[in-house]
Symmetry: C2
Amino acid sequence: MARKRTIDDIARLAGVSKTTVSRVLNNKPDVDPNTRERILRIVKEEGFVPSATAAGLAGGRSHLLGVLVPSFTWPMIPDIVCGIAETIGNTAYELVLYSLNDKTRENGEGDIIDHILSTNLVAGILAVLPGQSSKFVIRLHQHGFPVVLIDDQDDPPLVPWIGADNQCGAYDAVKHLLALGHRRIAHIQGPMKYVCSRERYEGYCQALREHGIPVEPTLVIEGAFDTASGRDAAQTLLSLPEDQRPTAIFAGSDLMAYGVLAFAEEQGIDIPGELALVGFDAIGSSALVRPALTTVKQPFQEMGQRGIEVLLSIIEQSDQQRFNVRSGYARDFMRLSRANVDEPANAPPLRIRLATSLVVRASCGMRQRSPFSSIKSVSR
Amino acid sequence: MARKRTIDDIARLAGVSKTTVSRVLNNKPDVDPNTRERILRIVKEEGFVPSATAAGLAGGRSHLLGVLVPSFTWPMIPDIVCGIAETIGNTAYELVLYSLNDKTRENGEGDIIDHILSTNLVAGILAVLPGQSSKFVIRLHQHGFPVVLIDDQDDPPLVPWIGADNQCGAYDAVKHLLALGHRRIAHIQGPMKYVCSRERYEGYCQALREHGIPVEPTLVIEGAFDTASGRDAAQTLLSLPEDQRPTAIFAGSDLMAYGVLAFAEEQGIDIPGELALVGFDAIGSSALVRPALTTVKQPFQEMGQRGIEVLLSIIEQSDQQRFNVRSGYARDFMRLSRANVDEPANAPPLRIRLATSLVVRASCGMRQRSPFSSIKSVSR
DNA sequence: CTGTTAGCGCGTTCAG
DNA sequence: CTGAACGCGCTAACAG
């Protein structure tokens, strides 16, 4: 627990000015190699760590990254945050967590965005599943503030975005059911206001089309991503006349699939015997339910990781531009919410689509082995 | 998206000095009520938000709270962090998340503590399940740095601590099994190096004692809190000669109970028919497994909330003391890792023990109704 | 009750 | 290649 040292201390110990020390620490050129070496040694010996606070104040840029997540009740959030935290841990940045609870949601999601912006604490924001606040995030981006979105975007894409390849994932899932011989395959959609729901639906349609099977409107129901809506949809679907009833259901989320499981359990409907079921997300508990759920795995951790990587590159680039434009104290730019520092429309926003993978378990009729022992690999 | 204003701007608009504005913002006394009113109005109108960065630098205290969590693979972490985030959201503080991934763990958990301390970014730390790094946290506390622990402490208690009443929880669980008529009740312990494991064991023993039942060493096995060790323990217990085999198992964590479920499933052992099972934690997925798990519910969200509350009170108190002691620029105290600002041994460290509650589900033999529809209430 | 004066620790400019 | 000087936005001591 060494005594906290400042740059001045190091400068004194090295016999140089603090300016030089600062230059070394920021990897500036124009420093004598010997001096640089010596300073680095002392910095290491003394265990010197610069104050992020002061650096932020002086340099105008902070070393903090904001991560905005909705309520932790969504089961994928922990996985995503895990990827984020681990990635940030490997950088010189720190992670500031902003979460929307029910109260902040009431007051309007814009509030928290304004708060983030006005405190000027973070250098950029990674917004996870922004949902309703997505439009605020977009505004941020248009004002030149570094922002990246995970797993929820508007159409057309306006903001750098990381997500899963929802259409392919859905396509694979339905293909699998088709390969098992199913022909009447229902789909419980997520809310259609989300692009990911529409993409999953598109994948579902595509797979059916390829098999020459028409999309039956009665077999497609819009849910709300949660268990309750899945249960309702199951009830509707399984109350259809026998000849119209689906033999398989592709749910747009694992939680909705749980709703199907619940209804089937109540009604004594055997899954997968009488009804095959596939979910989407591969949240940890889907390996635990009975029957264990076949589902499309989203690479949540990797999404978090890539999100941070992209955010950092954007921040760096925006620093670069600021540096080039600057003449004298042009830092007033920043106070104006960094307005129009660059033309965001220059290049099309970055979009990264990560591959999904189908996790086959018992719920669609395949034989399952030792499900519980697979807990580790699934939930990590 | 109003233009970012500084205290000086407000001072100019209000026709007073920035000092006065600062005083109003920090709720200092000695300000004319009218002036205060006027300043507050302007602050609100202009949407002024002070810079936490600058305030931290100047005042020597930051408005950031560090939260140290182990890997997100532990299923209760999200719940705890949720409580933490929500509580911090209601204060003027921000949440900085430090997480231990496998790499940081390798390099020694002390590193991250040193890092936290030397960056001097946060005003205090709430450490969740510190495990091996617990001793580092204790050292922090002894140096006068505000620290609170959640759910893992050393014996004797050295640091302010929030946790569940493990002994009572275990006692209740075993009592329940006894009430159901079980007499040969096994216990799969958590690692005995943790106080919580020892307390749960104590509750187990206490319940048996009250019924005049001796504690059989063969029925007590130490696990590692995870699923694999639970499976191993189940195998050992259920391989006992028929007359020594337990009719019920009380597992020290839900994950270990999952291991029991897995082994039982493999072996075709009916739960609860041939074996009753109770877990500990009430993590969300325990409502989803089949049979649904009876378990002792820890109030994770509340633990997070109380943790922050206690941490804030400690920070405030330490600021107070610093203020009283200070003569001139005595801020050097802080640079010395805030060493010995107060006598930590003055009062016994605060310990808050929150009540648990038994969640009765199918795994111990009670009739279960509509398990899936209870997902919401359990996982929130 | 209020304003003036010094910094907090660092980044950046400008003149050597 | 180097150092002195200034300022980031705010708080705290000291004198009115």
